[in-house]
């Protein structure tokens, strides 16, 4: 069961990272935690420790976006998808103990992978938003694909760095999404009428 062993090693490595951080986690630790030999770890991760750490970060990042995906599944409108998504993502990041700890102690190990992954995730978010945009109706002259990319960029920006916004406040998130992000993208989201001149 190749897949299971690989998965078990990843989960074991994550447990080590949660306990000791990225820098202190070794292949030996991961092997011990997963109850496999070092050789088995190297068979699944020929790149050794670097590959293992990279894959663990990718794995947890993907898991985070699967949770996000589930969270917004039931939302029916573009506005609702974005509001729920931003609030959920913000909360998840703030409450993610392992992420917060690693960011405090060893951001330089984490960030290159995270940045790389966020490019893929941006594309996934844009793809996810596109049908909602089309369903909602685009403002005149706005290219749906470009709009989806722009919104995905903004969603990622706000979820990682709220800046002046309090993303725990549903009213503010509502304002952010409806009055700032979507104002130029879609045809008059209620309750706003035609844009001024």
């Amino acid at each position: 069961m190749v897949v299971d062993t690989r998965q078990r090693i990843i989960e074991a490595t994550y447990a080590c990272v949660a306990r000791w951080g990225l820098a202190k986690t070794t292949v030996e630790d991961a092997a011990r935690e997963a109850n496999v030999s070092r050789a088995t770890v190297y068979r699944h991760f020929p790149g050794g420790r670097d590959e293992l750490i990279h894959d663990v970060v990718s794995w947890e990042f993907l898991a985070f976006f699967l949770r996000l995906y589930e969270e917004v599944q039931e939302a029916t409108s573009l506005e609702a998808v974005m509001e729920r998504g931003i609030r959920f993502a913000h909360r998840s990041i703030v409450e993610h103990e392992v992420l917060q700890r690693v960011m405090q102690t060893e951001p330089e190990t984490l960030l290159p992978t995270l940045t790389l992954e966020s490019n893929r995730i941006r594309e996934a978010i844009a793809e996810f938003l596109l049908p909602y945009l089309l369903q909602h109706g685009m403002a005149e002259g706005v290219d749906p694909t470009q709009a989806a990319d722009f919104l995905a960029r903004m969603v990622l920006s706000y979820m990682a760095s709220p800046g002046r916004w309090d993303l725990d406040d549903p009213g503010q998130v509502r304002q952010l999404v409806r009055e700032e992000l979507l104002a130029g993208v879609v045809v008059g989201p209620e309750p706003r009428g035609a844009p001024g001149t």
Partner: protein, 236 residues
Amino acid sequence: MSEHAARLLAVPPVVPASRTAAAAGGSHRVRIVDGALECLARQGTSKTTVDDIARRAGVSRATVYRVFPGGKVEVIAAVVDTEMARLFSALGASMGAADTLSDVLVNGITEAYTRITTHPALTYLVEHEPEVVLGHLAFDESNRLLATATRFVGPFLARWMDPEESARVAEWSARIVLSYCISPSARTDLADRRQARTLVETFVLPGIRALRAPDASDPIDLNRYAADHRAGGPTA
């Protein structure tokens, strides 16, 4: 090391390499700072030594330590401060020359994007030592960077909106620049004024209008042309 070097993120190239360092014949301090900038552009932070800086600056190692007792870290901090100041002064000149809100935003976004993405030292670091730069682009550090940009850019919007609105729009613009710098888009090149203008007019200006719509007694006049206050025309 990463502390200071990473602040290079917000930094631009203003002076071509040929005009810097020893060639300029400036004071030791100037030559050292310029020489260090060239070193960073060629080999990044970790490989740059005080010897390298001294050689490029045309001074002795002892001179570097006399001017910068803190050594490499202190030199790099001076480089970062210098480059930050250059970026902000270029941004200020560019935004200050604009006469419409659209031009202010287009000028600011284009100027910042171009300087950041073509800065030789920064480009080298992003390519070879990304961890040095990225730490300043995520989470708390990114919030700090956004706050700095917001404080600087906000006042340039004061002719069109109140301070609260200005801050909001300034931060939004800074996010846009950062996002496209971190992951450039194949479809939208913010170094191209026309494309930057399309982005501003499509996505940002409607959001600014929405700040006061729909029942505003004093809607924001996006195209207010302050001809009476300015002799110069709008920038191309």
